[in-house]
């Protein structure tokens, strides 16, 4: 039960300070919290950690009263938690998870290199604006490195993956980024891309009502210092393995048994997710290449502009020299338009597609976690069966003195089985909602960015037309 307390109590700091109605943008979260308040708290809160200090002033505003902010409640390796997944009214769960919030805005800026040689890493400034009360301020500014982001993701995944939440996977640490930062090859494009990736990621997480109530999420955005992420140092593949291991810890490891899918809805999802992912990957790649070639076109237009100006300087026919200089001018302008469009191809199209590809990894994680929850339930059912067999055997052999003890164990296992069954069912319900929500968002986003892509192209092409219109009369032969 401890974990239930942890989740719920931590759930919404708003409720302590403000009436739910005051924060209209936070309808879902408030609704949840109201309900959660009514849940009886059976276990007294063990430790009270002081509220974390924030960069911005108003520490007085940090409530001392919401006492349940104790980190140890979240210890996700706690066996109690793994044995007994959250038991919550299922309607409560669904409203908590499908709720999306819009009251936290994060802007990432000023990427800079820190450290030297092999110890070098990138640091970003993370600025947060929020209307959420209880965070002790409206504006926060902290410095975070890339591995901090990964660390946050791992914490969230470890804590909530088994609940069926959609936790947007963090951008990958890649070998190329490793060498880029360590070797000190300052690649502006790369850094800018990473900055944008992280910004999109953290804002994606910040939309998930339940995740925003996590203490480490709040800490990540508001605390001056956070514990360094230790498990994210290595490359992403190893990180993923570690994460899978964590999920397995949460859910008691037993005989792995392939889950026969009885829910056709999930069957469909599992069947289509790989296909969709492959498709989006290819589209993302093609649009990435488009951006690369537009950038090259921008560069080579600039080069042609310079070549043309040089030719104009050499030309002794004055009229022709002027015409060649005009060629230089138009290609210089075209170069700028194409470079600008290249950025838009990248950030408003290709990168959003690759986010979707990564988002589908998040969906896969949900599906995988659901299988593990099922296995967990199956193993407790098996345990219960074994105990029942034991009682039968005891009765048959007449060793009645051991029966009461065994029956007590049966009781325990019955609870366990019921709990894990409930856990699986609740998780399944949450997962369905989460996947649906994501899918609705994905298609809407796809439609939106395709339209936007076209609009960017149109905008750029209109500029191109205007350029040629201005240039043509000068190129016309007046003789």
């Amino acid at each position: 039960m401890a974990d239930l307390l942890g989740d719920d109590v931590f759930g919404d700091p708003n409720k302590v300070n403000a009436a739910p109605s005051t924060d209209t943008s936070d309808v879902f979260a408030s609704a949840v919290s109201t309900q959660e308040v009514s849940t009886p708290v059976p276990v007294p809160v063990p430790v009270m950690t002081p509220a974390p200090a924030v960069v911005t002033p108003a520490p007085a505003a940090v409530p001392k009263s919401p006492p349940k902010q104790s980190i140890d409640l979240f210890a996700d390796e706690s066996p109690a938690k793994s044995a007994a997944p959250a038991i919550q009214p299922s309607n409560g769960v669904s409203s908590a998870t499908s709720g999306s919030v819009n009251d936290i805005k994060v802007i990432i800026s000023d990427p800079r290199k820190a450290g030297d040689g092999i110890g070098a890493f990138m640091v970003f400034t993370v600025k947060t604006e929020t209307s959420r009360s209880g965070w002790g301020g409206k504006v926060f500014e902290v410095n975070r490195r890339f591995s901090d982001f990964l660390g946050l993701y791992e914490k969230l995944a470890g804590r909530y993956q088994h609940k069926g939440y959609f936790i947007f996977p963090a951008p990958e640490k890649s070998i190329s980024s490793f060498t880029k930062v360590k070797i000190g090859n300052e690649d502006d494009m790369f850094v800018q891309r990473r900055q944008q990736q992280l910004q999109r990621w953290i804002n994606n997480i910040a939309k998930h009502a339940a995740l925003t109530r996590d203490i480490d999420f709040q800490g990540f955005l508001t605390q001056d210092t956070i514990a360094p992420a230790t498990s994210t140092r290595a490359l992403s593949a190893a990180g993923m393995l570690r994460f899978v291991g964590k999920v397995e810890n949460v859910i008691t490891k037993q005989v792995t048994q392939k889950m026969p899918e009885t829910d056709s809805w999930f069957e469909d999802r599992a069947a289509s997710v790989d296909n969709l992912q492959a498709q989006l990957k290819r589209l993302s790649m093609a649009s990435g290449n488009l951006s690369v070639h537009r950038r090259e076109l921008g560069l080579s237009s600039g080069n042609l502009a310079r070549a043309s100006n040089m030719l104009a300087n050499a030309e002794d026919k004055q009229d022709l020299s002027r015409r060649l200089a005009n060629v230089g001018t138009i290609y210089e302008n075209l170069g700028e338009i194409y470079t600008d469009l290249s950025d838009k191809d990248l950030y408003d199209f290709s990168e959003l597609l690759s986010d979707q590809v990564r988002g589908l990894d998040g969906i896969k994680n949900i599906l995988e976690a659901r299988q593990k929850m099922w296995q967990n339930w199956q193993s407790s059912e098996q345990g219960l069966m074994k105990k029942r067999d034991t009682v039968t055997r005891l009765q048959a052999t007449g060793r009645t003195e051991k029966i009461p003890g065994a029956e007590l164990e049966i009781k325990e296992w019955e609870t366990k089985a019921a709990t894990s069954k409930k856990g699986f069912e609740d998780m399944t319900a949450v997962a369905k909602k989460e996947i649906n929500t994501w899918e609705t968002q994905r298609v809407a986003e796809t439609k939106m960015f395709i339209l936007k892509w076209m609009k960017h192209m149109l905008e750029a092409e209109k500029k191109v037309v205007a350029m040629w219109e201005k240039y043509l009369p000068k190129a016309q032969n007046v003789k």
Binding site: Q279, A314, L320, L451, L458, W468
Partner: protein, 429 residues
């Protein structure tokens, strides 16, 4: 005189030929150089070309009332020539001392169809993997490219030949007559040793060129001005050619990526049609609109590139070759001065020794004659070169701008309609 935009049928302004031989005052020349002063008719047209394994064969239609032509082949006849044979004609003219004062029209580029035919092969291999209409599209696209290259090869060879036939002096060349009248293959393949020799000569020429670059001033201000000009121009026109080529290459690659995106969007439309969430917001309809219109954008994007190639790259490429011819002419001019210098020294030496003076006197006179003849023909040619250069650039730059504007407007048009359609799809919900 450059390949006109879309078709070889366009009237190509051919570089005009000789004016009356007005030897010196350069300024008065420019008005007269464009006048035709040709006796008799010698017209050629490349009517067709056949692609063969290694090269292509050009079918040349010759019309002439010149006696040397009519007596062997009649007034109108056809002849087939390969690129190699064109090449041979070019080197034969270039190496002929009689033409030292003339600009030899640059040799047409060797036609290269390996890339489109290779791509066509690649597509055939992918045939099973891609939807039929995409294959058809890619094939038409490549066939267009192949055709364009084919036309270009025909037109560059035709321009080369035309320039010779319109040239007052070169049109009377003996080898040209053989080239145009000999019925059968010219035996130009067995020139391996000759090629090696020319290769060696080239190297010698390079050394001369290097000397040419740092050479002391030409005593004639007209040639001096041209020498200084061409040295700078040579590098810059070549740079312009390379840089404009890169631009067209990127247009081509963008156009290719747009196709790749189209193929993916099409696949996506097919699978989103089965997705209820996507159907709710008519995503698959939007994707289909994109599929319908993206090829049009791709087409105009491609045209922006291919017309830049035709109007800008080919112009520069042509002037790289033309500059080379000019430079060769100027080198021959320098050689004639050097030769005269030598002959003068020989004469001085002979006078001192008082031996064979008459012989050396005659040699000197011949050298003076050669130098003067070359100088007067060369001046005419250089004035014409400048005039033609200006005309070609002005014409091509204007056409280039007009075409780019046209294609860009088409793109705006397609995009506006597409956006309208996409927004309408939203409205219908």
């Amino acid at each position: 005189m450059l390949a006109a935009a879309d078709s070889i049928d366009d009237d190509l302004p051919i570089e005009n030929s000789e004016s009356d031989p007005v030897p010196d005052p350069v300024d008065s020349l420019s008005e007269k150089v464009m006048e035709q002063a040709l006796e008799g008719k010698l017209e050629i047209q490349i009517t067709d070309a056949v692609s063969e394994k290694e090269t292509i064969k050009f079918k040349i239609q010759v019309k002439s009332d010149l006696q040397s032509y009519t007596e062997s082949r009649g007034r109108e006849f056809k002849v087939e020539r390969t690129h190699h044979e064109f090449s041979w004609l070019h080197s034969s003219l270039s190496e002929n001392q009689m033409y030292a004062g003339y600009l030899i029209p640059p040799k047409p580029q060797k036609p290269d169809f390996s890339s489109p035919s290779k791509q066509l092969h690649d597509i055939s291999e992918k045939e099973e993997k891609l939807p039929k209409e995409d294959i058809a599209f890619l094939k038409t696209d490549l066939e267009d490219k192949y055709l364009a290259q084919f036309k270009k090869a025909v037109s560059t060879h035709e321009i080369f030949l035309n320039r010779i036939c319109q040239h007052k002096i070169l049109r009377n060349d003996h080898d040209l007559r053989i080239f145009l009248t000999f019925d059968g293959e010219l035996n130009v393949r067995s020139k391996n040793t000759k090629e090696r020799l020319t290769g060696w000569l080239r190297k010698g020429e390079m050394a001369i060129q290097a000397a040419f670059n740092d050479r002391v001033k030409d005593p004639d201000p007209f040639f001096e001005k041209n020498r200084v000009f061409i040295n700078e121009y040579e590098l810059r026109i070549d740079n312009g050619k390379r840089k404009s080529k890169e631009v067209t290459k990127e247009y081509g690659l963008i156009s290719k990526e747009l196709m790749a995106i189209m193929v993916e969007v099409k696949r996506m439309a097919a699978s989103e049609a089965k997705n209820p969430e996507a159907r709710k917001i008519a995503l698959e309809r939007c994707l289909n609109i994109v599929c319908r219109d993206l090829p049009k954008i791709q087409k105009w994007e491609g045209r922006m590139g291919s017309d830049t190639e035709l109007k800008l790259v080919d112009l520069m490429r042509y002037y790289v070759a033309e500059t080379e011819s000019v430079k060769e002419l100027l080198i021959r001019r320098q050689q004639s001065l050097d030769d005269l210098d030598r002959k003068n020294r020989d004469l001085e030496a002979a006078k001192i020794k008082n031996k064979n003076v008459q012989h050396f006197e005659a040699r000197k006179t011949a050298a003076v004659e050669h130098k003067d003849k070359l100088a007067s023909a060369g001046k005419e040619e250089l004035v014409r070169f400048e005039k033609n250069r200006e005309e070609a650039f002005v014409k091509n730059l204007e056409e280039h701008a007009a075409l780019q504007l046209k294609h860009s407007r088409q793109k705006v048009n397609v995009l506006e309609n597409m956006i309208k359609a996409l927004e309408a799809a939203e409205g219908e919900l």
